[in-house]
Structure formats: C-alpha cells, structure tokens
Amino acid sequence: MTESRKPAGRGADPPDDRSLVRAAQGGDAQAFRGLVERYQRRVYQLALGMVKDADEAMDITQETFVRVHRYLPSFKGDSSFFTWTYRIATNLCLDSARKRGRTERVDLDESDAEIEAHMDPPSAALAGPHRAALNAELKSKIDEALAGLSENHRAILLLREVEGLSYEELARTLGIRKGTVMSRLFHARLKMQRKLREYLADEVKDEGEGEG
C-alpha cells in the first residue's frame, strides 16, 4: 500500500504538525525548528505558571524541546504532538518543583465537610459580565494563589484553564484517570476560589450591570 502524498501547497497553509513531525523524525532540523517555534511560547507559558521563575521556566522550555527531539523516534502520533510535548514539559516542571521542595507534594483534597462549607453562594454581583482587563492587584493575587497550590493542582489548572486541554488530554498528559481529572480539577478550582473570590467579585462588580 502506498501512502498518497498531497502536493505541497504553495506558500499557503503552514505545514501541519504531523508532516513536521515526520520530517523531523527523518532528521530534518528545519522541520524540528518549525515545531519548536510553533509551541515554544505555550510551553514557556506552562513552565512559567508552574515554576514562577522566568529563568527556570526558560531552562525547562529548552530542556523540553531537547527531550522532545530525543524521544521523537518513539512518538507514534497516537496523541497530538502538543499533548505529547505538554506531557514532557509537565513532567519536567513537576520534577523541578519537587527538587526545590517548594511545596507539599501530597494532594490533600478537601473533605466533604469542607466542600459543604464552601457551598454558600458567592455574591450575586458575580452574575454580571466579566471585565476585560485584570487589575494589577488581581494579577498578583492570581500569582500568589497559583503558588499556593500543590504541583499537581497547579499543573491541572494551568493545562485546563490556560492551555485548554480536554479531559481526555489531561488524563493522558498527567497519567491519571478521567475520573481523577474531574476531581482534581474540582479541588484545584476550589482552592483558587478560596483565595480569589473576593477579588473576582470586585472585578465583576466594577463592570456589572447590578441587576436586581
């Protein structure tokens, strides 16, 4: 069976990941560069969210792509390239955070009682539209809140809220079950809310229509 080969579009769409990966697997350095350039900012973004320090995030980003290259021969294309890349990046971030021993590794998810206590509804003002721009205070509170999460909670929150991975992709990236994705994400969001809700409420209130 021969593989049908589509004629290369002339300066039209950029090559898709699959063809870049295939070319890179065949030793094409420029194709690999294309992949790096396509995903470097997203990987850096994830790393910066995870480790906070800009230099360390840059090192992790670089190391991620070195490893991507190293393991490229074993990439079978059964997951998307960026999910696979995130998996490598996430592991590096988790390793790095662990080496620094910055936070407790064990996730102690909330007990039912704690969740129950959290069930009081947030202020009605939240039902309004969201503000487009964040104020500086909220930004720094978000930083703080992220830093206060365990690595596992931080990773799943960033991969979902920022990178937009589906639950299936989260499960594959983090090596956990889909059920665990749901509960881990729930708890990570809850912990963030604890720290952010009053600021988020302010944000919304500023702009909200204040309906009765």
């Binding site: 560069r33 910066l48 969210g49 039902a127 979902r160 090596g175 963030m192």
Partner: protein, 177 residues
C-alpha cells in the same frame, strides 16, 4: 423534579468545560436558570478561568523567546549521544516476574537495587486476584520516566521524591518510557 444544588456544584466545572454528557447538561442548565446561587457559582468559575488565563498568558507574552530554537538546536548538535531511553513494558504480574531480569538488563539497571516490582491488589478488584494492578517502582539515575503511555489501559503515576511509581490497572501491556 428539581435537582438540588449539592448535585449541581461538582458538575458546574465539567459543564463550562464542555465535558458533560448531554442529559446532565440539560438538567443542569435548567437548574442554573432558576437558581441564583448556582448561576453565581458558574459565573465565578468562568471569571476565575478567564482571569487565570489572562494573567498567565499576559505574563509569558512579554518574554523574548527569539533565541530559544537556536539554543535548542545548538544543544542537539552537542548532544549526539543516543539517549538512554528507558522503555519498559509492563505485563501482568506473572509475566513480569518471568521477564524482570531481562528487562532490567536491557535497561541497564541492576535488578534488585534499581528496579523493583511489587504486586498489589486493587481494593476494587479484590475478587480477581492475578488481574490486579501492578506497582512498578523504577528508581535510580537511569530510570527517569519520561512519560507513561497507558494506551487503552487504566493507570496512574505516583511520584514521591526520587521514586516514580507506575500503576497499571489491568494485565494488558502498557509501555513506559
């Protein structure tokens, strides 16, 4: 019949993520429509999602990554040695025991010291001994687990210090590398 807030709270997240089954979305939408509290909870989740995204993306946006690809390619040039890719195949407990030595040798690991396997039985599957999950414990400097591909199997990765524990829920093969 009206569903209660306790039922809807854990589903609000999956709902805004577009990960909820249609039938659940339907009653949840109905509930949120007439429940001010849950409607506010949903708004808070969305506000938080948007705020986190904006904060993180904004922070990374200013970074100069123009030299990164060059730096990576330069490192690849200097780093031509074939990588010690650790690829382990995990079978059922019986097969694993039979192949442990061979796998360890292939991975360049000393059997006893660097690679150990403990068979445990899932509390959920006590009734099917022999099909219980595996607990593969790979440690040592050469045993960095880059990723775990569970393929169609259930599994989990637990990490504690230097030790990575890969847990596979059934006795089919899963490739660890």
């Amino acid at each position: 019949m009206k569903r209660r807030c306790e039922e809807s709270v854990p589903l609000l997240g999956p709902w805004i993520d577009g990960e909820l089954a249609a039938e659940d979305s339907a009653w949840l939408a109905e509930h949120v429509d007439c429940c001010k509290a849950c409607s506010a909870r949903k708004a808070l989740l969305e506000a938080q999602r948007d705020a986190v995204r904006e904060a993180v993306v904004g922070k990374a946006a200013s970074a100069d990554l123009s030299g990164l690809a060059d730096a990576v390619l330069a490192r690849l040039q200097n780093d031509q040695s074939p990588a010690p890719v650790l690829r382990l195949r995990v079978w059922g407990t019986e097969t694993w025991r039979a192949h442990r030595t061979r796998i360890s040798a292939a991975a360049g690991l000393a059997v006893a010291a660097s690679l150990a396997l403990v068979a445990i039985f899932s509390p959920l599957r006590r009734d099917t001994p022999g099909r219980g999950p595996l607990l593969a414990d790979a440690r040592g400097p050469n045993a960095t687990v880059e990723e775990v591909d569970f393929e169609s199997h259930e599994g989990a990765v637990l990490q504690a210090g230097q030790t990575t524990v890969i847990w596979v829920d059934d006795d089919g093969p899963a490739v660890l590398r």
